[in-house]
């Protein structure tokens, strides 16, 4: 059974249809890259999965449990929404780190707040907080940031910021990690270090959805690639197949432009 099942997602902003009947599945440890030109709906789709936008129609299921149905408002209750959000982690194009917390603080904050709901919090406060810190330190090490943990975001390069943001998302132990153009705000030199980290996660069998314009990266790292155009999924298939033998004319056009551009 697939880990994630998205069915018939539709989303409009006013009269503009942005997502038109999007359905797809994702296996555990699968890596899905979503490509397509700007305005094709890639980012909106990702935001619907995180409930940053509410899909007008359609359902989202994780592990066979329905976590969203556009026609059932009971999924919109703040508590339900908060709980269901945690199936997904999200890494933003613009990092969105909390500027007044250190790298370590950024990774720990949400966990610390969550821990307060633990009934044993009062008795075992020290233990719990130490556990959270140890995990956060471990994550930052994994991201190659052991010497940067106590720096504030403005003291870090863009690539370092994005790696902190990835660690912050991982700290919540999401089932599926979403990336929204994770390298688009970075200059080429810094892109590599972020892509390396994502590759590392792929090797650890993380389930990921990556919206990206890095075609070479999408081809290499993903198990599947989805091409979106004007709110539709035009084509979806194993990475190699889609890049080497695109079926749709529009996909061919899109990929050709990238080849020309290098």
């Amino acid at each position: 059974m697939s880990l994630l099942k998205v069915e018939h997602i539709c989303k409009s902003f006013g009269k503009t249809g942005v997502l038109k009947d999007i359905s797809f599945d994702l296996e555990k440890s699968g890596i899905l890259s979503i490509i397509g030109s700007s305005g094709s709906g890639k980012t909106t789709l990702l935001r619907c999965l995180n409930f940053l936008e509410r899909a007008d129609k359609g359902t989202i299921s994780v592990d066979g449990n329905k976590i969203y149905d556009g026609e059932d408002s009971s999924f919109l209750k703040p508590d339900v929404l908060r709980k269901n959000r945690l199936y997904f982690g999200m890494v933003f194009q613009s990092f969105n780190l909390f500027p007044q917390y250190t790298a370590l603080g950024n990774v720990m904050l949400a966990r610390q707040l969550e821990a307060k709901k633990n009934p044993a919090y009062k008795e075992k406060k020290k233990e719990i907080l130490e556990g959270i810190e140890a995990e956060a330190v471990e994550l930052l090490k994994q991201m190659g940031l052991s010497d940067r943990m106590n720096n504030y975001p403005h003291q870090l390069s863009g690539g370092q910021c994005q790696r902190v943001a990835i660690a912050r998302a991982l700290a919540m132990k999401p089932d599926i990690l979403c990336f929204d153009e994770p390298t688009s705000a970075l200059d080429p030199e810094l892109t590599g270090e972020v892509l390396r980290v994502i590759r590392g996660l792929a090797e650890q069998k993380a389930t990921m959805i990556i919206v990206t314009h890095e075609m070479a990266f999408a081809r290499d790292v993903s198990s599947e690639v989805m091409f979106m155009d004007q709110g539709y999924v035009l084509e979806k298939g194993p990475s190699k197949e889609l890049f080497e033998n695109p079926k749709e004319e529009r996909t061919k056009q899109f990929l050709a432009r990238f080849r020309e551009g290098g």
């Binding site: 995180n50 409930f51 940053l52 703040p78 908060r82 709980k83 959000r85 945690l86 997904f88 982690g89 999200m90 933003f92 613009s94 969105n96 780190l97 909390f98 500027p99 007044q100 904050l109 949400a110 707040l113 969550e114 504030y152 975001p153 403005h154 943001a165 912050r168 998302a169 919540m172």
Partner: protein, 228 residues
Amino acid sequence: MDAFFEQFPVVFKSLNVGFLQTLKLFAVTLLGALPLGLLISFGTMSKNKAVRAVVKVFIWIIRGTPLMIQLLIIYYFPGLVFDNPIWGGNEGGRFAASAVAFIINYACYFSEIYRGGIQSIPVGQDEAGLVLGMSKSQIFFRVKLLQMVKRIVPPMSNEILTLVKDTSLARIIALQEVIWAGQSFMKGSQGISGAIWPLFFTGVYYLVCNGLLTLLFGRVEKKLEFFR
């Protein structure tokens, strides 16, 4: 000049007592208006159109009319119109009426500063908090509040320096603050009359007080430089 040196100790004592009342009004106003302003700013940003409209009209009225008139209305209105002088005629009553007028007035000004501060924080901060499973109030208090404070220190310090001086408006309902104390030596008080210098001298109190506050705000700004 001899008269000045004779008068000085008496006047100084009197002005100190007056300025203490000034400081009290200042402190109580801040204590009330800082949180009330935040509440009002939430009203102006409410999703509910009716709430937004009511709050905005309220702010328009309060910011659009002189604080002096608001003081007079709040102090005299209950007694004159409802025959119910809730404030009483003593200094305590005048202080309470002044405090209410000042808190409401300043809360409205503060609320607009808060709103500017909150709205200038990128929406990505909310979104980052949301996807990490944080609640709206956690996001506000743990993520946005300090960023807002950092942004509003300069306009806030402006407003707070003005408040120090505005407390003198309470003179209009005879609150015995420092201006009132200085003025009393013109008419005659404690054996001194016709002296105008004590009134001018009150300016020194405001100046020193605002000097200290300016230093304090400078330090706060410095303290908040650890992040951007």
